[in-house]
Symmetry: C2
Subunit: 413 residues, 2 copies
Amino acid sequence: MEFIDGGVTAPKGFYAANTAAGIKYKDRDDMAMIASTADCVTAGTYTKNVVKAAPVLWDRDITASDKPVRAVVVNAGIANACTGREGLEYCKRTSEAAAKALSEKYGASIEKDQILVASTGVIGMQLPIEKLETGARDMTGKLDNTREAANLAARAIMTTDTIPKEAAATVEIGGQTVTIAAMTKGSGMIHPNMCTMLCFVTTDAAIDKKLLQTSLSDVVEDTFNMISVDGDTSTNDTCVVLANGLAGNRPIDSESSDYEEFKAALFEVLKKLAMMMGGDGEGATALFEVIVNGAKTKEEAKILAKSVITSSLTKAAIYGHDANWGRILCALGYSGIEFDPDAVELTFSSAAGTLLIARDGHGTDFDEEEATRILSEDHVTAICEMNRGGASATAWGCDLTHEYVSINADYRS
Amino acid sequence: MEFIDGGVTAPKGFYAANTAAGIKYKDRDDMAMIASTADCVTAGTYTKNVVKAAPVLWDRDITASDKPVRAVVVNAGIANACTGREGLEYCKRTSEAAAKALSEKYGASIEKDQILVASTGVIGMQLPIEKLETGARDMTGKLDNTREAANLAARAIMTTDTIPKEAAATVEIGGQTVTIAAMTKGSGMIHPNMCTMLCFVTTDAAIDKKLLQTSLSDVVEDTFNMISVDGDTSTNDTCVVLANGLAGNRPIDSESSDYEEFKAALFEVLKKLAMMMGGDGEGATALFEVIVNGAKTKEEAKILAKSVITSSLTKAAIYGHDANWGRILCALGYSGIEFDPDAVELTFSSAAGTLLIARDGHGTDFDEEEATRILSEDHVTAICEMNRGGASATAWGCDLTHEYVSINADYRS
């Protein structure tokens, strides 16, 4: 598998569009559409939050059914969460508008339950539904399969994100080139539990629906479910994949080596995006990566890594480039995992070097200036060697900064 | 029971002292001592963090034994956590120095395992043990039972706290006046799991050791274990109570009405301190209180309340006086409790008024200016009516501010 420069239009048959619908933001795009010229099998993972946004309920029903999907319509600005019965009505009307426009464009008979919808932004406000309907119609007329169209779509769904997040890769499956691409957004309220804020994966792979879901669910566990910006699991978390089969590969219909190839490529694409999300967490100045090695089980390694990545004190220390390793040991300690603190070895690593900071239950006599230099990079890694087994896990997050507080003290105005 | 103006010297027979031992801070007191003229029965609750500071291990052994305790020696500046074997040696030497000085002072034979020790401050640095020994000796000579002595002791154990935290109350038990007093400190790394940073309770009640422990454990669950500043459970959390029996009350030796009176008074004293800790969280501008009513069980109510009190996004919104109620519903939703979001009613309340903000799954048409006025007070309450049962719980915390980040980005220097 190999990364390529591309976005969601990279796989065959996928088109994208964007528009400024004027939902909440001024002078910027706030809607995006992805459409496929051929029917897609789909899979999705959604928030485990009891409070689910209306689009989550809408998409969950569709991806659980055998309905072939043709498009996704996304808006930024207002999240359509905590919007009661009206919220679901808005999903229906947005899908209807898109289905009607797409049917006319393609001379096909596309129905509303072949259109996925997604929303991100403020919770608890109602959407201006007419603007969404108009936006869906406008975008249908502008669908394009260029690199730029994909990038503009990725930009249109940003909220507090500072960079658009796209990735694409090709992989040979049975002698055919299959392309997997995705765009994602998410910067605050990021502590995915099932999947992250919004992620849309396109692929021209021919793959069985059940295997598509299995591969997505497995990959999400080790990518998006391992990032945290602020510990807040969103009401809108959604990750869907659309596979239209246009690559012409021998269909993936069993857990064969073809399937493993596909899944490995999907993992790399989503991992790249997960790391981009961590590094672009609200207010972040650095991507903070926590690697736990030598745990007894993978589940244990994940719990330990997530405990460190969510520690406010550790994150503030990373912001200050302060090698305050006691906070990391403390966060490992309250994770719920029983371990011998004296057996743990802590190392800081970045492009500026690698330094063993603590072992045998106390600090090494490390050089503070060197530690500060290592922690001043924009990608900082803490490696926790637990010395009690062979399992590993990696989590991604960011530092806790003044800017995070500024962004969230008055997000609604 | 009735609150009185007083600190740890309010109960009969308790003396306090403080000194500037020069451990880490410049030009301020950094050690405190509490001593009793009579033997004390003790009880303690400690951090559940796997990484336990040396004084936690030292005190746990002593409070679990039947040894009568005579004094507590506390230092601020360096926490004696993650200090390996040396850390425990320092506990022993500090206790020895205090025991020797107290034996001379009182003409008694006091041993090192009758002295509790506690530390708070930076994790992962070794203590200057000679300074601790000198400090313990100096303070023995300065022990005093005045109101001022108690206050100076409470000040000496502060780290990033901005106010000393003391409370005292009297309660009639079997015709005798019993006094309960306590001092506590804690401002960051506050998410107690068993008990909070450091809390020292003195009482002249005559009470059975086992009942003292039961009452403390029960009360801590609903007071200190319900506060959170930053979700980080400390390595040093310690709450100990010393009861010297000098009130002369009919000894409390069964779960009688006397016991209930004592426990209720202990609850009020510790609740008052828990709220002071929440309001004085690192960088806080407001005490944030979350009341969950109408839950199915008390355990469920606690989980829901704690999920809201620890939400970074909710805390940042409180800082911005922004009625961003969707974040509260979101935090309830990811708590792990299954409930019907449409049944929840959210209310904001403070000295400036009370306002129903959301019900039936969406916002009420509330007045934003009125909401901002309510949220601008220095004690703000969110009331979550779950409408699914009769259980309640209250949690305390604070807002998330720029100052919190400033304090923690470079705490060690």
